[in-house]
Symmetry: none
Subunit: 415 residues, 2 copies
């Protein structure tokens, strides 16, 4: 059976709602998008629910679904993905926790779960907690996340996420930080609880007189003198994409840590570049050139563009329209440089409507273009034309399988 | 509640891709199909994914889905279905294997996995291998299938399909036939592996000087002096169709062993006729007449037509168009002879696009026609009109349930 290559565009947060200032059009519908419309006219459209209708996905779960995985099967607590998002590399068996920098008093009472919503200096604070040897062959990796948040990864033999949170939770300030205890009778739970508690005690000591905190106290701010943990999860191994789909070789181009982390977990070649900032100022030329290089050696090249999602979060319908127009030029460039029998597909990890400013459960406009596609009667690429497209309404997994089936990589079910 | 009867057409491999030589139409869209179009105009259309979007089904899994079953729940290797297709009756717990008559030399090296594609005499060869007592209360049933193929069924206590193939596989002629080994540490796997190897050793002895082989050797042909096994599966019990759907009585008309085997497993009456060859030259009149007889005593009669799938595999868009036109006349004849309140439904087990030459994961065009159907605005029966039909995009199970619901056989869910 003949096999084909494909370029898959993941346009982060693409889907949107009608915008009054755009005469009731969505940013995508209002954008000047000749390349996307040309693909729509010759291809097949559909609306895709990354996970399921009405469920707002994250960038992590959205991309897992886009690549054929079931997040619920590989997702054990938010810790591992947060840790990857913070730039930590995880291996199977690692246990990761979401953390807060917090303020506790001399008696271990939690005064503020967010250490006065500390923003500056968390990198310096994190540095003294990263790479600690906790004994039993267990080491701790620690990295700052946004504002008062951070992530902790424990690596070592026989660990589990079945331990209690030390974070007493939002309503429990004024109470002591919890002592970590095992949540089952297993040896693993005991080991993990001991190691985690040891880390938290060490954190108290190392943070207490840290320069950043001295400065905060003298400035009348609450010190970030403790770490609180929650949302523990253990890292599972993803079945490599090649093992599931007849040796499919894939590459992902992205500037975002979470997407690159998921790509590596799935056995994709993860490609990035200093110019890929995961921000508004993305460079279509660099991505197109990189895609052209990779498509020579890989069957599937996924190009991730973050900017439309940022515009959605910022409520900037004008910027979203503009970034989509630059995505369109990227799509046009890629189409003009790849072999003519290369499939081109467009989808997204979730919708990020400008009027909501957050991810929504709306389906994302999607299309597949290439040899033998059953066309439909739609001629433009937008949320509402896609809802009338020939693919109908399918899930992210199903969209991925439909693309792979056209490429000749879907395993036959039965005889 | 009033109950209705229905004729369900299973048009094997019906779905296709646009064909350049047909001005971008699919074979179905290009075919002269007055009967199907009339049903489309008065009925409701949809696209059906036999199992799920993008997943290419086999004839076996496709028909299991079409009849309301989940292949993943009952499917354990191809062996049992092939065995039933070859006419062996199976009971729950039986383990069945697909077999080849093969040629091995004095050192047990596989010279030809197909014994020179032997056609004559396989029945005689099979007779000396059928009904062998293998000890441990295990007996072997053996029957010839098409050409060099055959099937083996082991019946006895505590058997499993978790044993290795003795067939070295297509690329490994010139290597010795594999010794059967257990694939797990269970007692069942050990017992089954011993019994199967004993059968294969006995087969060597009994086939070696068999008259059929003596004749072949003297004629300069390769002897069928060994049996190779693969695709082992254990027989599970399907819940009879009548038990799930309020006593529904069904019959299946087909010329293909696999489809007839599934029909029997599901508790359908399996009807065939010498003129049904499962090849291009199908006889619409015989099938129509048989359907008319059966619909008197059965609630649901499924008519299977293989020819369009063959044309798809052969890449013959012209033959596919032509066979679909003959299917159309069959549909027209059936409609004209059954009671006017009999439902008529059309679907397929999978798509077999001519440009692919294999089963694909594209959805199959489908329709339901009969009393009280919510019509849609579509007036012709084709892949692209069905994509705009009132049924939307549903699975094979859901299509079957929708038909049975109209017939008044779907159990109520709730009060």
């Amino acid at each position: 059976m003949k096999r084909y290559k494909a370029v898959l565009f993941s346009i982060d947060g693409l889907g949107d709602h009608p915008v009054e200032q755009l005469q009731g059009l969505t940013p995508l519908e209002a954008a000047d998008r000749p390349a996307l419309n040309a693909l729509a006219k010759e291809g097949i459209l559909g609306i895709v629910d990354p996970y399921a209708p009405g469920v707002p996905c994250g960038t992590d779960t959205g991309h897992l679904c886009m690549l054929g995985y079931d997040p619920y099967k590989i997702y054990t607590g938010r810790g591992p993905i947060e840790a990857m998002g913070a730039g930590l590399e995880l291996a199977a068996g690692d246990v990761a926790f979401r953390c807060n920098f917090a303020t506790v008093d001399g008696n271990g009472i939690v005064v503020d779960r967010r250490a006065g919503r500390i923003r500056e200096g968390t990198r310096d604070l994190a540095n003294v907690l990263d790479g600690i040897d906790l004994g039993d062959g267990i080491t701790a990796r620690f990295a700052p996340a946004t504002e008062h948040r951070a992530v902790l990864v424990l690596r070592g033999p026989c660990l589990t996420a079945r331990v209690s949170d030390s974070d007493p939770g939002g309503k429990n300030e004024g109470k002591p930080a919890g002592l970590v205890s095992p949540l089952d009778k297993s040896e693993e739970a005991g080991r993990t609880a001991r190691a985690l508690q040891k880390f938290l005690d060490l954190a108290r000591k190392r943070l207490d007189n840290h320069p950043v905190n001295k400065k905060r106290v003298s400035a009348g701010l609450l010190p970030a003198n403790a770490v609180l943990t929650r949302g523990g999860g253990i890292m599972t191994t993803l079945t490599p994409i090649a093992a599931t789909y007849n040796g499919l070789k894939g590459a992902v181009i992205s500037g975002e840590a979470t997407v690159l982390a998921i790509a590596k977990m799935a056995g994709f070649h993860a490609a990035t570049h200093a110019s890929m900032t995961g921000s508004y100022d993305f460079n279509p030329i660099v991505k197109a050139r990189m895609a052209l290089d990779l498509i020579r050696n890989y069957d599937l090249v996924l190009i991730h563009v973050k900017a439309p999602d940022l515009a959605g979060h910022d409520g900037r319908w004008d910027l979203k329209k503009e970034t989509i127009e630059r995505v369109d030029s990227l799509v046009g460039t890629v189409r003009s440089i790849v072999e003519c029998d290369t499939y081109i597909a467009v989808t997204a990890d979730h919708s990020t409507p400008c009027r909501v400013g957050e991810h929504s459960g709306d389906p994302v406009p999607s299309l597949i273009w290439g040899p033998g596609i059953r066309t439909d009667s739609q001629e433009t690429f937008g949320e509402r034309t896609c809802a009338k497209g020939g693919l109908g309404r399918i899930t992210g997994n199903q969209f991925f399988h439909s693309l792979l089936d056209h490429m000749g990589f879907m395993p036959k079910f039965g005889a």
